[in-house]
Symmetry: C2
Subunit: 120 residues, 2 copies
């Protein structure tokens, strides 16, 4: 991420250390950036939450979206799926220690958008 541009003796310009595909910022965004992804993780921060409760909490998102986001987060090891031996059977999702490390930047983002973005 120290990309710069240099000009050679003939006036031609070349990028040095150009930032190709996977800058850290881009990679992070791929993991946390999708619609609802941050919200889903955020809602798990205090306690495990069951699938249907999540869909109720995150009003605008469909079951399909929640399901996709949960799989996505699980595939990155940020949350865990846990089957509850209740009747009827239930499933809860809980944040992992690895997932908790992401809360810091989600919280920064939250603070930033609360303080800087127009209320709107």
């Amino acid at each position: 991420m120290k990309a710069r541009v240099e000009t050679d003796e003939l006036g031609r310009k070349t990028a040095i250390e150009a930032c190709a595909e996977p800058c850290a910022i881009e990679r992070g965004m791929r993991v946390l950036g999708g619609k609802w992804t941050g919200s889903v993780l955020w809602h798990l921060k205090d306690e495990p939450v069951r699938f249907n409760d999540l869909t109720r909490m995150i009003g605008g998102a469909s079951k399909k979206m929640i399901s996709e986001r949960l799989k996505h987060l699980e595939s990155h090891g940020l949350i865990e799926r846990e089957v509850l031996e209740t009747r009827p059977l239930g499933v809860a999702y809980r944040i992992t220690p690895r997932g908790e490390t992401a809360l810091r930047c989600l919280d920064e983002l939250r603070q930033w958008s609360e303080s800087v973005l127009p209320q709107h």
Copy 2:
């Protein structure tokens, strides 16, 4: 973001303070989350950069994307467009104080993905 689910005396569940469309996290993602958006802002953090230099620095993105992202960031007041009276005429983009407030969370994200995400 304190959404929870309550059960009434008949066993029916209702979401309290459900998180509809614009949670702070979602809104922040809309501003910083698009592909290349974070990278573009990041590359402006130290000094103004000219258009074509940006496209060279960010190897994977087309001019159209850079142009769109710059307009997007400008529309949110995070960067400024500045015409340089050089020959040939040039344009430089510089980060605004408002834009600088976003660097904190971009940096958190960068640190997070560097330390937590598989090198890949």
